[in-house]
């Protein structure tokens, strides 16, 4: 058995970034990962940096997320992303080239104005353009676009580079990464936790559960029953396109995000449901969502019609029943921290810093008092003893 200061479960973007922050702070960190690092939600996500307020529902999503509550978190994350590449001394293909959120109906146009109030309140600068002005700014936009919000802070980072860069930084600062080590047991051991993964056993006073869609399964090993609702969503990549699409394009009322990545492929997503979620294998992309998502992409960006779809893939998303992030210590389980929920990629630098503060007792950079795991707990803390 080894000892550590912090055991992080999950080497996705949250685990990697938290490991980097904590290792830099001098903590002895061990990261346990069930498979290869960054291969699940963090490796299948679109890599959008959402700074302007997001639309509230994925296709098929039951409960709308609280877009207004997101805005201050987005603002804080946006500021932190600015320094990620310098800080890690690595290229993650970070691009802050701005983004449009389009509206097609009068109701959607009203929503653009509504969300601008939230953006203004936290100092996110946005501008609402009418359809013609939007098409002048981005000529690829189609005729149905009635208005669009422009935010120059929206951007992209390559998710396949971000997690490895954070992990490399963590390892440089002394963290130990153990891939292919699924955690099978978490027990209380004196004042600490004893975590078992394959042949490894690590004892540490702090455990951070950032296992994404498996967050509740890991928590259950520690006797904590959390109500999570993981889903699988899918992404689509076209062949490389010579048409340059310099900005992120999203839709306020429907599931759509389109951007061009550094290699030239267009990435089309928007939270469309995959054919199925398979937490024990690989989730499959489905045809209905593929057809629906691509048709929507063509309506907003007609040039996409001329391209070929190269591949589709699905990835799990660690959603909560109320669609809001979860971050904090589990009441009644001292030193057992969880972090996850939607938009984790955008929030990664923020949640990493927040987790560092929670471990060291410092004041978190944003107010997270309403985002803790209490609201997801299925048992009272007393009952699980």
């Amino acid at each position: 058995m080894t000892t550590a200061d912090v055991v992080i479960i999950g080497a996705g973007v949250l685990g990697a970034s938290a490991a980097s922050r904590l290792a830099r702070d001098g903590h002895r960190v061990v990261v346990l990962e069930r498979g290869a690092p960054g291969r699940e939600g963090s490796g299948t996500t679109a890599g959008n940096l959402h700074v302007q307020a997001v639309h509230t529902r994925r296709p098929g999503q039951a409960v709308p997320l609280d877009s207004a509550r997101f805005a201050p978190l987005q603002r804080a994350a946006s500021d932190l992303w600015e320094d990620v590449e310098d800080d890690l001394d690595a290229s993650v293909e970070l691009r802050r080239s701005g983004g449009f959120t389009v509206a097609e109906t009068p109701e959607q146009v009203r929503e653009l104005h509504e969300k601008q109030a939230w953006e203004n309140a936290v100092g996110i600068t946005t501008e609402i353009l009418d359809g013609d002005a939007a098409r002048e700014a981005l000529p690829q936009l189609g005729p149905t676009v009635a208005a669009a919000t422009w935010c120059r802070h929206d951007g992209y980072a390559n998710p396949l580079k971000v997690t490895p860069a954070y992990l490399a930084d963590a390892v440089r600062h002394g963290a130990e990464l153990v891939p292919f080590a699924p955690v099978t047991g978490i027990t209380r051991d004196g004042g600490a936790w004893r975590v078992t993964a394959r042949t490894r056993e690590v004892r540490a006073p702090v455990v951070i559960d950032v296992a994404g869609p498996w967050l509740h399964r890991i928590a259950a090993l520690a006797g904590v029953r959390l109500d999570m609702s993981p889903v699988a969503i899918q992404m689509h990549a076209t062949v490389r396109s010579s048409d340059g699409l310099p900005h992120l394009v999203q839709h306020i009322g429907e599931g759509l995000s389109v951007k061009q990545v550094s290699a030239g492929n267009l990435l089309v997503g928007g939270g469309w449901p995959a054919r199925r979620l398979d937490l024990d294998g690989r989730s499959d992309a489905g045809v209905d969502s593929m057809v629906g998502n691509m048709a929507l992409a063509v309506r907003i960006l007609p040039f996409v019609r001329r391209l070929r779809l190269l591949r589709a893939w699905a990835g799990p998303l660690a959603a909560t029943p109320d669609e809001m992030p979860v971050i904090g210590e589990v009441p009644g389980s001292p030193g057992f921290l969880v972090a996850g929920g939607t938009y984790a990629f955008t929030f990664a630098p923020l949640w990493a810093e927040t987790l560092r503060c929670l471990v060291t007792g410092a004041k978190p950079p944003v107010d997270i008092s309403d985002l803790g795991p209490e609201r997801l707990m299925q048992d009272l803390p007393e009952k699980k003893r």
Binding site: V239, R282, G292, R311
Partner: protein, 461 residues
């Protein structure tokens, strides 16, 4: 778009296996559709010569013409130029695009996957030069177009297929400067093949050998390509002993170089249909788990021909017939007198031949071991995304032998070929346990316009 048509049997792939199955099933009165992406049936083995070529030079495989004619005469619906690119969310409707890239849905009570094989290339510095091809491409060019791949050619790689390709090139007047074989199959010499008592098909190999010996084509055994050079086209190839790739033994002037290490089953569609696959212990290839008649883990899906495991055209035909008879049995038809017994005997004979030839040549696992050290870090490994061997090697620690992690961390295999070209090499270099990238929608790139028409939003612009 119209609703899917339901047929008794839909066969994907019109090569020797698919055609054999189609003819037998249609003869028994079942409604059969054969879908093939090529403009004419035949697959690679029975690839039809261009009409102009056939007029002047004749048909290199007239039995292919006869088989295709018989299939059409039996009433099989032949959808050529149709590309199967996916499976609908119901898990059984095939998503197809027609020659005008309009969407078509096909559904069969039985599905037969006869999608054939990919060649197995392995990179070396210079493999992206014009004039470097696979043996299969050279053969296709020679047979279907009567066009030599070059004037002075080296064939390299491993396996029996290099011999007939060399003979096809000789017949076109090409100078075959030599054949580099990575293994040592021809001991003590190529002629020895004919000296022992072997099944007929090994004698066929010996026939090729004799032809090559007459033309004084040297065969260099235990020899691999370590680089190709040239400015706008390959002009020379450097060879080395497989056991000592760092010490080149000869450089040969060429204007074409054909390198291939045999074939891999093309099982993407079978995997997408949910057929269980296993990693073949001998080849490392993802191979569907099948009954002797080709039935997969899904009772309504059969996998036949090279997609079921590399065996050659005669084996493919036997597998096609076996699957057809299995389906007919389930449909209450009785086989013809002696049909099952004859088929079983053919199967046994071909299996003997296959184990004999397999024993002669290095296995893909041997090849991966053999070839891995020949590839310098600077060599391009994935041509679509321009990823070098060094980039893949550097991720070995963190990707920990997971081929998909390797792909994610390097982009190797993310381009238009989706790993069909480079999959074997990426896994060999990354030392992964399996060389299969996941089978993903679409199996082949599909026009967004085709998807739009499926959404009912109008056809191609």
């Amino acid at each position: 778009m119209s609703l899917p048509e339901e047929r008794d049997v839909v066969i994907v792939g019109g090569g020797p296996a698919g055609l054999a199955a189609a003819r037998r099933l249609a003869a028994a009165g079942l409604s059969v559709t054969v879908v093939d992406e090529q403009p004419e049936l035949g697959g690679q083995y029975f690839r039809r010569p261009a009409p102009e070529v056939a007029r002047v030079w004749g048909d290199h495989r007239p039995e292919g013409r006869r088989l295709i004619d018989a299939v059409r005469a039996a009433g099989v619906e032949c959808r050529t130029g149709h590309l199967v690119w996916g499976v609908d969310d119901d898990g059984r409707t095939l998503l197809v695009s027609d020659p005008a890239e309009r969407p078509v849905r096909l559904r069969g009570r039985y599905l037969i996957v006869a999608t054939g094989a990919y060649e197995r290339p392995f990179p070396f510095p210079g493999w992206q030069l014009p004039g470097v091809t696979t043996p299969g491409f050279a053969q296709h060019l020679a047979a279907a177009d009567h066009t030599p791949v070059g004037e002075r050619v080296v064939l390299a790689g491993s396996g029996p297929f290099l011999l007939p390709v060399a003979c096809s090139l000789l017949a076109l007047g090409v100078t075959v400067a030599g054949i580099a074989e990575a293994g040592r199959p021809y001991r003590p010499s190529l002629r020895a093949l004919g000296a022992v008592r072997h099944p007929a098909r090994l004698r066929e190999l010996a026939g090729y050998a004799a032809r090559l010996a007459r033309a004084r084509v040297p065969i260099w055994q235990d020899t691999v390509v370590v680089r190709a050079d040239g400015r706008d086209r390959v002009t020379s190839v450097t060879l080395a002993a497989a056991s000592a790739p760092a010490r080149p033994v000869r450089t040969v002037a060429v204007d074409a170089l054909c390198v291939g290490y045999g074939f891999r089953p093309q099982a993407d569609l079978a995997r997408m249909l949910g057929c269980a696959v296993r990693t073949d212990p001998a080849t490392g290839d993802a191979t569907p788990v099948l009954t002797p008649s080709g039935r997969s883990s899904r009772a309504d899906v059969y996998v036949i021909g090279e997609a079921a495991g590399i065996g050659g055209a005669p084996t493919a035909a036997v597998r096609g017939l076996s699957a057809a008879l299995d389906i007919l049995g389930r449909e209450g038809h009785r086989p013809r007198a002696g049909e099952l017994r004859g088929l079983a005997a053919d199967g046994r004979r071909l299996e003997r031949f296959k184990s004999l030839t397999d024993a002669l040549y290095p296995t893909p696992a041997d090849l991966a071991r053999l070839l891995r050290p020949t590839l310098p870090d600077t060599a391009t490994l994935c041509r679509c995304e321009a990823i070098t061997a060094g980039e893949v090697r550097r991720t070995a620690g963190t990707a920990a032998g997971d081929v998909n992690a390797t792909k994610a961390w390097t982009r190797a295999g993310m381009g238009p070929c989706q790993g069909r070209e480079c999959g074997f090499a990426v896994s060999a270099v990354a030392r992964t346990s399996s060389d299969v990238f996941p089978s993903r929608l679409p199996v082949r790139p599909v026009a967004v316009a085709t998807l739009l028409e499926m959404a009912g939003e109008g056809g191609p612009a």
